[in-house]
């Protein structure tokens, strides 16, 4: 029955599953604890296992074999299924260490009066329904410490037991709980543990009579990675095919099409190397994400090719376009610099990958592509025969209209009580809904309570944390009495501080004294003094017993709980105190705040994680803004004209604003990934505006400009429309943002740059 308590170790996993590995490292100590727990904490190691599809008897049998196998598997530190043998071991452990664990062990307890009272209580219990339980340990433990400890540790609603093992509420599926040795963040080890689990199930049930399902933060991360990798591969194939189709249609020759791929490939290679060299690791998700960002590099050869005049060699075109090409590369690089500067760990990788990749792609385009391109490419390029529509609106009015549009979009956004930002971490999880749902169902079947608030106890080391936890206890007990909270889990209940253990040990009388006092205490009760010889011996042994340590607890349900509740990070040690059935959050928070115990703080996980994402988002917004300023600066310096630089940046900015407005109006709430997408849009849009603006200055280039925009926006839209089809929230957000943004930018650039009748004639 004691094994049931490990279930409580699960209380915080809920949050874990919602988080991705891309979180920032946290600004406050509380946030650092949160992130550390999610990545490396014991909670992240817990695996929920479900067996289904066979009669209860068979399921129970497989559950037992599976548990035994997992218990000896090196990938797992612990496995439990509510089985009696485990419960019996846990109870035996409690009995053996009862005088270190029991809060009832005070010097009071060992007086004649105290002993007599304890005996009377036991006698009373013998006259009740609990008699069979009391009978078990009475001779060794006449003060009833062991049962009192067990009772206080077992959750009120442990999972249901059928055929002696845990089952779900309906009694249909058998449930097990295991803990991996590797932290949740070690995805390779998590994948190996998942394989070991499957193999153990295979061995436990060779006839495949039962179905195995499991869930854990680490293994969900593995599944997520696999899903993203699979989907990214599929999306890549689709988008590459589409892009090739556009390029083949545009160039009608093999060599230019092949050359278009060279900078992108070189950029990806350079990006990966740069990330490894600079940061030492590369997240698979970053790679998938970065590859799409680098897809933009396909545009560089296209910028060059589509601009080649009829009688021009590619080299001559390169020389003519040098400045524009350089600016196109540099402005995108500015966006990547902004990602790096955001100080967000996941985005750092992405920024480095993009920066190195874009620069490499630019260099390859400059030094390789132009030299290898067919000399007569200009002759074979298709010419766009479009009747360019004319706008009979003066340029000045267009600028005013653009400003008005931007103003209106901003005003609408502000009017809806601030921009519709979404800081719910759950919505950022790349986890497919079905997997998240399964995780929730299992968690609920194991009666893991829904906890969103907890108390955090910090200290320099374990002992300091445990002492503070003990000091916190009376306040929590009072809160339970005041019906502010249903219950709590305190690590010091399973692992008392050394000081407390020493105090309890000192309270134990020596055998002779105990014998004398017990003889007196027994008088007037039906108990026989000589029957309590095991008691006297146990107390004598407890006086010299070594103190309980985390190591002593290892392998027991108490150990699982202790390691789930106690953690270590760079700032020292900390204990999390999960709370059950919080009824009056404010009163409880005040009670904790009013406590005179250092290192104790109230932690609302949801608020805290949302605050974290808000900070995160502010940083990215800042980075995006800084990126835009940087781009404008680069442009102004590059073109040597502030006016022209503004004219390039203005429609892009308005386009990004418009796109955001459209996305929000369409019901999307803006996540940090949308913001990253916006930065990408700025990079792409500025490139388009560069060429468009150039055509305004040199109207003879108008037709070529149209060709350039048609080809490059064609490939870009192919890539990001494919991405928008993704079921993974991150990729979907990126795809929709870029597609909407690029279309909006093109429309506004056209609005600004379409010739009036007079210009068209000229």
């Amino acid at each position: 029955m004691v094994a049931g308590l490990v279930v409580y170790a699960l209380t915080r996993v809920q949050v874990t599953a919602d988080f991705g590995a891309f979180l920032p490292s946290g600004a406050t100590p509380v946030q650092r604890v949160l992130v550390h727990e999610l990545r490396d904490g014991a909670v992240g190691r817990l695996v929920l296992i479900e067996l289904s599809g066979a009669p209860a008897q068979r399921l129970a049998e497989v559950s037992r074999t599976l548990r035994d196998r997992l218990a000896t598997d090196p990938a797992f530190a612990y496995a439990a299924n509510g089985d009696a043998s485990q419960s019996a071991r846990d109870f035996a452990f409690i009995v053996a260490h009862r005088y270190a664990l029991s809060p009832g062990v005070t010097s009071e307890r060992w007086t004649v009066a105290g002993l007599h009272r304890a005996l009377e209580e036991q006698l009373d219990a013998l006259y009740s329904l609990a008699a069979p339980l009391v009978q078990q340990t009475l001779a060794r433990d006449p003060t009833g410490e062991a049962l009192a400890i067990a009772r206080s540790l077992v959750p009120r609603d442990a999972p249901r037991s059928v055929n002696g093992v845990w089952f779900d509420r309906e009694g249909r599926d058998a449930l097990l709980l295991a803990a991996t040795r590797a932290p949740a963040s070690d995805l390779a080890a998590q994948a190996r543990a998942a394989d070991a689990l499957r193999a153990a199930h295979e061995a436990a049930d060779p006839s495949h009579a039962t179905r195995l399902a499991f869930s854990s933060p680490g293994m969900l991360a593995v599944a997520t990675r696999e899903i993203i990798a699979r989907e990214a591969a599929l999306l890549t194939i689709v988008s590459v095919t589409l892009i090739l189709a556009v390029l083949v249609f545009a160039y009608r020759r093999a060599l230019p099409v092949v050359l278009c791929a060279v900078p992108a490939a070189a950029g990806l290679l350079a990006g990966v190397c740069a990330v490894y060299a600079g940061l030492g690791h590369l997240n698979a998700i970053t790679l998938a994400f970065g590859a799409t960002l680098l897809g933009e590099a396909v545009d560089y050869p296209s910028f060059l090719f589509t601009q080649i005049a009829h009688d021009e060699t590619p080299r001559a075109a390169r020389a003519r376009l040098a400045r524009v090409l350089a600016l196109a590369v540099l402005t995108t690089a500015c966006g990547a610099v902004a990602l790096i500067a955001s100080g967000v760990s996941g985005l750092l990788e992405l920024g480095v990958l993009t920066l190195a990749g874009i620069l490499a792609a630019g260099l390859v385009t400059w030094f390789v592509v132009a030299d290898w391109a067919p000399r007569d490419l200009g002759r074979t390029l298709p010419t766009l025969r479009v009747n360019v529509p004319e706008l009979r609106i003066s340029p000045a009015r267009r600028v005013v209209a653009l400003a008005v549009l931007a103003g209106v979009v901003l005003a609408v956004d502000v009017a809806r009580s601030g921009p519709a930002f979404d800081d719910d971490p759950a919505h950022l999880s790349p986890l497919p809904a079905s997997l998240a749902e399964r995780d929730r169902a299992m968690r609920s079947a194991l009666h893991a309570p829904d906890v969103r608030a907890l108390v955090l106890v910090r200290g320099n080391d374990d002992e300091a944390v445990l002492r503070r936890a003990e000091a916190l206890r009376p306040a929590l007990v009072a809160a339970v009495a005041a019906k502010e909270v249903g219950g709590f889990e305190l690590v010091s209940d399973v692992l008392p501080s050394r000081a407390t253990q020493a105090k309890r040990r000192l309270a134990l009388p020596d055998p002779a004294t105990l014998q004398t006092r017990l003889a007196e205490a027994v008088a007037g009760t039906p108990f026989r003094l000589d029957a309590f010889a095991p008691f006297i011996a146990d107390v004598a042994a407890a006086r010299t017993a070594a103190p309980l340590t985390p190591d002593t607890l290892a392998g027991t349900a108490l150990g699982v709980r202790a390691s789930a509740l106690l953690g270590h990070d760079a700032d020292g040690a900390y204990a999390v105190v999960p709370l059950r059935d919080v009824m009056n959050e404010r009163a409880l928070a005040q009670r904790v705040a009013a406590l005179d115990v250092p290192g104790v703080s109230w932690l609302d996980l949801r608020t805290e994680s949302e605050a974290m994402l808000r900070t995160y988002r502010h940083r990215i917004l800042l980075a995006v803004a800084a990126g835009i300023v940087l781009i404008a600066l680069v442009l102004a310096v590059g073109i040597r004209s502030t006016g022209r630089a503004l004219r390039i940046v203005a429609p892009v900015l308005a386009g990004v604003l418009l796109a955001a407005g459209i996305l929000v109006a369409a019901g999307a709430s803006i996540t940090i990934f949308h913001l990253v997408g916006m930065l990408l849009v700025v990079g792409i849009g500025v490139n388009y505006a560069l060429f468009a603006e150039r055509a305004r200055v040199a109207p003879q280039e108008f037709a070529r400009m149209l060709r350039t925009l048609a080809v490059t926006s064609g490939t870009t839209l192919c890539a990001f429309v494919t991405l928008a089809m993704s079921s993974i929230p991150v990729l979907h957000a990126l795809g929709t943002t870029v597609v909407t943004g690029v279309v909006a930018c093109l429309a506004l650039i056209a609005w600004l740059e379409l010739p009036t009748r007079r210009e068209a004639r000229a």
């Binding site: 049998e61 043998s85 013998l126 006259y127 009978q135 249901r160 039906p526 026989r528």
Partner: protein, 213 residues
């Protein structure tokens, strides 16, 4: 874990060692087989069906009981007296009158215990051990074979006039506390419940039917 000195180890090897949970499962079909064999043994043997029919024929019961608990740590047995009421299908009421009053009402899967003015309500569905323990009494009084078999390995000897039912808990957790329950009775009236604990401890409840006052 073994119980040396137990008078009879009936039809199936039901004893399971602490680790030998498989033995228990193997024992289950054997017990059923043995049970079927007993059932079809012919006119001489009493079948569980026949006994259950006799028990089910009693719609309500009112009885006085006396519980005697003997333990190694006690000088003298603890004795409790009171009344017991059973009403079909699932209500069982036990009122302990002496020496320490206690009032237990079990209705369906709800158990309420009143002691010293305090009432505790327990959902038996969440307490499999307690539920099985209570079911040994209630399902017997009810003549509910299905429930008995669900919670215990059941074996039956004797005749309808003097039958003897032995229940060994299926739940290993419960078996760590209660080795077996032996019930004696005649016709539709159980008269004696003997609960064998471990280490020689035992509890006997004798029941004497009486008219409701």
């Amino acid at each position: 874990m073994s119980a040396p000195g137990r008078p009879k180890r009936e039809l199936a090897p039901k004893r399971a060692s602490a680790k030998g949970s498989r033995v228990r499962f193997a024992a289950f079909p054997v017990a059923i087989l043995a049970f079927v064999a007993t059932s079809s043994a012919g006119a001489a043997g009493l079948t569980l069906d026949a006994l259950m029919n006799a028990l089910r024929a009693v719609p309500a019961r009112h009885a006085t009981f006396e519980e005697t608990r003997q333990m190694a740590v006690l000088n003298a047995p603890l004795v409790r007296r009171g009344t017991l009421d059973y009403v079909r299908p699932s209500r069982l009421e036990m009122r302990v009158t002496a020496p320490r009053p206690e009032h237990l009402v079990i209705e369906g899967s709800r158990l309420s215990v009143e002691r010293g003015g305090e009432v505790t309500v327990v959902d038996l569905a969440a307490q499999p051990m307690l539920a099985a323990w209570i079911e040994s009494l209630r399902a017997t009084l009810a003549g509910d074979a299905a429930s008995l078999i669900a919670h215990f390995d059941v074996s039956l000897t004797g005749t309808l006039a003097a039958w003897h039912l032995t229940l060994v808990p299926r739940d290993e957790n419960l078996r760590n506390v209660i080795a077996s329950v032996d019930i004696d009775g005649h016709q539709g009236e159980p008269t004696r419940f003997a609960i064998d604990g471990l280490r020689g401890d035992s509890t006997v409840i004798t029941i004497a039917p009486s008219r409701p006052s």
